[in-house]
Each structure stands twice: as structure tokens, then as C-alpha cells.
């Protein structure tokens, strides 16, 4: 399949009179090779395969790179956190399978996003920042297991909200949107697991889902991660009034997005 040819056919020149139709053309073009996204990222993208894209949508590409670098920053944080935790020996042997799997996923996300940014969007992936997981000496996640679990929950719940908040910013690119959604749900699975694990160990009473915007027994500094999760009105419909289901359960049924600035505000606590 000749993707370049396909793209040339489907994506009109930026300067052409068809410019006004570009939105649809671009969506269609991305859609055509949407099924290939996984293979593309896996197998070192043939150089130039997608170089036609910046030509048809430079501004959008820059914006996509920005969003994906934001996501990559969070994935760097998560990967480094779990890798350091595993190396430190703080994790209970009984929970090793869980955190090895989460670490593997975060590393895969780092590699995937790096690949897409550099070889699909022809951008520059952000380097891994320096992290301070003690947040200035306030936490000891690598010597105290409950703290390790608490920050793990905080990072996963933040990740879910962060990806959700960017969905609208990547929706013109079906490949990137679908990939982002497919990472988003993995982060949510992690979050559910870690939340329930903490409760099983008697460290909290949180469930796999977030109730009324509560941060449970997490440190007060994490409240920003949960504020807004108490929302029960969606698309103008107050679901408590609609159904008579209690507000706690309704709040659990919908996760809320966070903006990039809100997420960076949270993440900045852990930047060295």
C-alpha cells in the first residue's frame, strides 16, 4: 500500500482553492491509515512515510507535537517513578506483578510517543526531565510502601484526567486521537488497580472509581488531582436529578478532564 500516494491524493495543497475542504480531507486521510497506526509505531516508521502530513497541516502538526510532548512528559514521570520504585525494593513481593506491568506500560508509552513525535510528526520529543519524587523532602516513596502506593494513585488518576483533557486538542487527527484514547484507558485500569490495592491494605477507603472528588487519605497536596470530579452534570443534564441515583455514585460514573496547565501545576511538585 502506497501511503504517500494515498495522502497526496486525499490531501489537497495548502494553497489550493480546496483549502476550505481541508478539514474533511485531513480527517479522511488520517482515517485511511488509521488501522496502521500501531504497526507504524512499532516498526521504526519508514522515513518520510508520513512527511506529507506537515505539508498539508503544519500548524496542526505543531500543535499535535505540543500535546504529545506534554503527554510524553507525564509518561517520563510515571516510568521513572515505577522504575525507581522497583529498583529500590520498596514494593511488596506480592504486588510485583502489578507494578512490573504498570512500569512496562509506562515505558511502552514513552517509547511510543517518542516514536510518533519524531518519526511520524517529524518533531522533537522532550528529553526526560529531572524528577524529585520527594517533592522537596515531603514524601519518601522509595522507603515507605504506603507512600509509594499513594503517589502511584495520584499519578495514575492525574494521567487519566490529563489525557481526557487533551482529547479535543487532537481530535482532528484520528490516529493520534485513537492512540491517546488507547493510552487513556490503560491509565484508568492502572488507577483502578492501585486505588483498590490501597484500600485492600487498609490504607484508604477509596474504590476503583472516584467518589465526590475525594482524595481519601492522600496528602492534602494532591487535592487538585480530584477537585472537579464531584461533577454530576454532563451535556447540561444533571444526572442526579434525572435518575434519583445518589450523587456519590453518579460522580463515580464520570471522570473529569484537567487542562494542561492544571496538570503541569500538579506535576511541577515533582520536578527537580
Amino acid at each position: 500500500m502506497n501511503l504517500l500516494k494515498l495522502l497526496d491524493k486525499m490531501c489537497p495543497d495548502t494553497n489550493s482553492p480546496e483549502e476550505k475542504d481541508m478539514f474533511f480531507s485531513r480527517r479522511e486521510a488520517f482515517r485511511q491509515f488509521g488501522d496502521m497506526s500501531k504497526k507504524v509505531a512499532m516498526a521504526a516508521v519508514p522515513l518520510g512515510l508520513l512527511s506529507a502530513l506537515p505539508r498539508v497541516a503544519k500548524a496542526d502538526t505543531a500543535s499535535l507535537i505540543g500535546v504529545l510532548n506534554f503527554a510524553l512528559t507525564l509518561e517520563h514521570l510515571e516510568y521513572r517513578y515505577y522504575q525507581t520504585g522497583i529498583e529500590s525494593g520498596v514494593i511488596d513481593g506480592a504486588d510485583a506483578a502489578i507494578f512490573n506491568k504498570i512500569r512496562d506500560h509506562e515505558l511502552a508509552h514513552v517509547n511510543f510517543l517518542t516514536e510518533v513525535i519524531s518519526n511520524v510528526l517529524m518533531g522533537t520529543p522532550v528529553a526526560e526531565p529531572g524528577f524529585d519524587f520527594t517533592a522537596g523532602g515531603n514524601f519518601s516513596p522509595f522507603t515507605d510502601y504506603p507512600t509509594f502506593l499513594a503517589l502511584s494513585q495520584a499519578f495514575e488518576d492525574t494521567g487519566v484526567r490529563a489525557y481526557k483533557g487533551q482529547a479535543g486538542n487532537v481530535m482532528e487527527n484520528d490516529v493520534v486521537l485513537t492512540a491517546a484514547l488507547s493510552i487513556h484507558s490503560v491509565e484508568a485500569r492502572h488507577a483502578s488497580m492501585v486505588r483498590r490495592l490501597r484500600t485492600k491494605k487498609g490504607q484508604d477507603t477509596v474504590k476503583g472509581w472516584i467518589t465526590n472528588g475525594s482524595n481519601g487519605t492522600l496528602p492534602a497536596a494532591t487535592q487538585a488531582i480530584y477537585t472537579g470530579e464531584e461533577n454530576v452534570t454532563h451535556g447540561g443534564v444533571n444526572v442526579v436529578n434525572l435518575t434519583g441515583i445518589d450523587a456519590g455514585a453518579v460522580s463515580e460514573g464520570w471522570d473529569e478532564p484537567l487542562s494542561k496547565d492544571q496538570v503541569l501545576g500538579i506535576a511541577s511538585l515533582f520536578l527537580a
Binding site: R31, G34, K38, A41, M42, A94, D95, A97, I98, N100, K101, D104, H105, L107, A108, H109, N111, F112, V160, K164, A167, G168, M171, D174, L177, T178, A179, L181, S182, I183, H184, S185, V186, E187, A188, R189, H190, A191, S192, M193, R196, K207, G208, W209, H234, G235, V237, V239, L242, T243, I245, D246, A249, V250, E252, G253, W254, D255, E256, P257
Partner: protein
């Protein structure tokens, strides 16, 4: 998951045969359940007797979500009346009770949001599930939750209105939280909550398209669902 694609002659009769054969996406699952899928918006497929038509564009996708939420809500409602639930541990009672509320809330939300465009109530058939048996219930819950996540992840790219996309995003992560919890109940402490059967080497969860999802759902939904106008 049913993989066999069978062409039911009765349904083809009045359809635009050329378009139909071109896309070749008619699926028939067990027990006389019909699922119809064509790529063209202007196909000649008449509404099926007793069936529902999801419609086109974002409305069609919202109805698609509504159909899945109807299925999930009906399932958990049945779970709560069964003897597995009556004898379940406190933790599992809490989880099943929560999931019933969440899915009922999702269902009612979509129904209200769709208004006049909402499809009718779907008929379900859970005879394959033993609601007195823990394993049977949990395996079915796993199927429904994993299916829901893959369905939303696969449909996202077809949503045009950003508000709808965000609402779908708000729901899909909760479905993923459910799925992880159910999987952990089945295989506690393992990596199955985010298992390799769903998540690939890039750390991406699987997506399923409309045909795959509705074919899987048709094992439990007896109302014929016409999704021929959904975007592609």
C-alpha cells in the same frame, strides 16, 4: 466473539445489493439476531421489523453508546437479583452495586441526551449467564466492561462534536476502571487488570469497530440493530 459472517437472504432482498456486497459487512450471530452494516448513508435498507436504527453521524454514535449502556445496565440489574450477589463478599457486593448504578446512570443520561432521537429499549437475553454462579457472572462482567472500553476507544475517531467526544472520554475511563476491578476479582493480584490480551507492546489498549462490538453484543441482545448509517 462470533467471527462467522453469514448473509441472511431475507434481509438482503430489499437492500441495495451492490452496496451491500461491496461492503460485505452483514453479520448474523446466534439465535436469529441480525446486525446490519453498510458504509453508505443512502443505502436502501428498510428498517427491520422490531429492530432499531442507530442513525447517522454523532447521533448514531450516541445511540451506539446508548445501546451498549442499555446492555450493561440490564446485566447488572439482573446480577443484583441473582443468588451470586446475595451470597457475595462485602467487597463484591459494593462493586456490583456501584456498577449497576453507574451503568444505569449512563443509560439514562444517553436516553435523556438523545431525546426523540433515542433508539427504543433493547430486548436482552442473558440465558447464557448463570446468575447464581460467581465465575459466570464475573466472566460476563469482564466481557461487557472490556467490550465497552474497546467500543468507546474505537468510536472516538468518528465523533465530530468535541463536547460529545469529551463526554465519551469521561465514561470510557470509568468503564476501564470497572474492567480492571472485575479482572482483579477473577485473578487477584495478577497483571490481568491490564492484561496482554488487551494491551499491545506499545501500551495501547485494543479498539473494536462497530461491527465487531455489535456482533459480540448480539449474543445478548435480541433486538436487531441496524448500524448501517454509522460513520466509517
Amino acid at each position: 466473539m462470533k467471527n462467522e459472517l453469514i448473509k441472511p437472504q431475507g434481509l438482503v432482498k430489499n437492500a441495495n445489493r451492490r452496496q451491500f456486497l461491496k461492503t460485505g459487512s452483514l453479520s448474523v450471530a446466534a439465535a436469529g439476531l441480525f446486525l446490519v452494516g453498510c458504509n453508505d448513508d443512502d443505502d436502501m435498507m428498510p428498517p427491520m421489523d422490531g429492530g432499531v436504527k442507530l442513525g447517522s453521524g454523532d447521533i448514531g454514535i450516541l445511540n451506539y453508546a446508548y445501546a451498549l449502556e442499555q446492555l450493561e445496565a440490564a446485566f447488572y440489574a439482573a446480577v443484583l437479583t441473582g443468588s451470586y450477589f446475595a451470597n457475595a463478599s462485602a467487597e463484591e457486593k459494593t462493586i456490583m452495586g456501584d456498577l449497576e448504578k453507574h451503568e444505569r446512570a449512563h443509560r439514562e443520561f444517553f436516553k435523556a441526551a438523545l431525546g426523540d432521537a433515542a433508539i427504543a429499549d433493547l430486548e436482552v437475553n442473558f440465558s447464557a449467564i448463570d446468575f447464581s454462579n460467581r465465575t459466570s457472572v464475573l466472566m460476563a462482567a469482564k466481557t461487557f466492561e472490556d467490550l465497552g472500553v474497546a467500543a468507546y476507544n474505537g468510536a472516538g475517531q468518528f465523533i465530530e462534536n468535541v463536547d460529545y467526544l469529551v463526554i465519551a472520554g469521561k465514561i470510557v475511563s470509568v468503564e476501564a476502571r470497572h474492567a480492571a476491578a472485575i479482572r482483579d476479582l477473577i485473578n487477584p493480584g495478577s497483571a490481568d487488570f491490564a492484561g496482554d490480551d488487551l494491551i499491545d507492546a506499545n501500551g495501547l489498549e485494543r479498539t473494536l469497530n462497530f461491527t465487531q462490538v455489535l456482533t459480540a453484543a448480539s449474543a445478548y441482545v435480541t433486538t436487531p440493530i441496524d448500524f448501517s448509517q454509522l460513520p466509517s
